[in-house]
């Protein structure tokens, strides 16, 4: 009973539509940034290395290399400050957390590209949405 109430509260505060992406995908995260009165969009590009939490608390971690230095940002999936998540490329991965990428430098950081067509991706997205 209480879990149902909890889910209800969380559902009301979740985004209705979240772009579908998988671990290992290279994504563009469009974040809204408030500078005084003005709002602008900043894009953070990198590989999704982890997803954690559930409901409104779900977070995802994006890693990229900036000037030879690894940078990771953790975003709340349902935050209104995340405007859009765009999938650029899918990678071949065999686990849910890609923390092993942290120990890699240079060419070894790259993930092999996984080719999936739009129809298959849509089918997967629909399936993920259903299970939610």
């Amino acid at each position: 009973m209480s879990q149902q109430l909890m889910n209800m509260v969380e559902k009301a505060n979740m985004k209705e539509e979240v772009s579908y992406f998988e671990i290992g995908d290279t994504v563009d995260v469009h974040c809204r940034i408030l500078e005084g009165e003005k709002e602008r969009i900043q894009v953070f590009t990198g590989v999704v290395i982890a997803r954690s939490g559930s409901g409104t608390r779900e977070m995802f971690t994006v890693r990229r290399i900036v000037q030879g230095e690894g940078v990771e940002r953790k975003f709340p999936l349902h935050s209104p400050r995340i405007a859009r998540i765009e999938v650029k490329r899918a990678g071949v991965v065999r686990r849910a957390k890609l923390y092993y990428l942290r120990d890699r430098v240079g060419k070894a950081v790259r993930l092999k590209e996984r080719r999936i067509d739009a129809a298959k991706r849509e089918a997967l997205a629909a399936k993920a949405k259903e299970s939610n």
């Binding site: 209480s2 109430l5 909890m6 209800m8 509260v9 969380e10 505060n13 809204r32 408030l34 409901g55 409104t56 608390r57 709340p76 349902h78 935050s79 209104p80 400050r81």
Partner: protein, 239 residues
């Protein structure tokens, strides 16, 4: 009475405000509550409104009550008129019977001190009473931790890990003077029962009131486990 209600802690979660800031909230299922009794100056010596929350099941007809889960005869008689020898005697003597709410027996009953104006027995209060209220105080029973050491119970620092400390790393240490007064002062903080005590958290901001599901969302934590009963009252601390 100040605006108040009884409820149950559902749990904690996070929501986002329009600017995208995360707010940690406690979800409380508040009400609906019935007014069971009005305490008046002339009859009881003080003024208060007695509320009841959550129905308590009755024992099956003709069965003896064997568990405290089911409502006793006195609890059933508290919410509705029950026939008894005493009632008949009082009726014959012309004593006016006390008004009854005519609802189901309640599991959680508490009184709120204050004027009874505008309240009547049997009235149903919903979470809507908090619609215009900015902040509340929440009273609950904290999670029981059993017998706990002084470090956990009073945030003592314990003793060193090394430098000759032997098997006393989490002990209290010194507890007072020596030959005079030759005793420990009363109330010295030490190990003992921790938790499972009445606990109040004041001035919690009301984030959202959900009339449809009787839910109240307050900013911050509330004492007790999920499912624990809480008393919610308009705060008098708000500046």
């Amino acid at each position: 009475m100040a605006v108040g209600l009884l409820g149950r802690k559902v749990g904690m979660t996070q929501i986002y405000d329009p600017t995208g800031k995360v707010i940690s909230v406690t979800v409380i299922q508040a009400g609906p509550c019935h007014v069971l009794q009005l305490r008046t100056e002339e009859r009881d010596g003080y003024e208060a409104v007695q509320l009841g929350y959550l129905d308590k099941p009755r024992p099956a007809a003709g069965h003896q009550r064997r568990t405290k889960r089911l409502a006793s005869r006195s609890q059933r008689g508290h919410v509705a008129k029950l026939d008894s020898k005493r009632q008949r005697r009082r009726a014959a003597a012309g004593v006016e019977p006390a008004p009854k709410p005519n609802c189901e027996p309640k599991r959680f009953v508490r009184e709120f001190r204050g004027s009874v104006d505008g309240y009547e027995v049997g009235q149903e209060l919903s979470v809507g009473v908090f619609s215009d209220i900015q902040a509340v105080d929440v009273v609950g029973t904290s999670k029981g931790r059993g017998t706990a050491g002084a470090m956990k119970r009073h945030n003592f620092r314990g003793q060193r890990a090394t430098h000759g400390v032997k098997k006393c790393h989490r002990h209290v240490g010194g507890t007072g003077c020596s030959a005079s007064p030759a005793r420990m002062f009363k109330g010295k903080k030490a190990a003992g029962q921790y938790g499972n005590a009445r606990c109040t958290v004041r001035n919690l901001r009301v984030v959202e009131v959900d009339l449809e599901n009787n839910l109240l969302l307050v900013y911050g934590a509330v004492p007790g486990p999920n499912g624990g009963f809480v008393t919610i009252q308009q705060t008098n601390k708000l500046k």
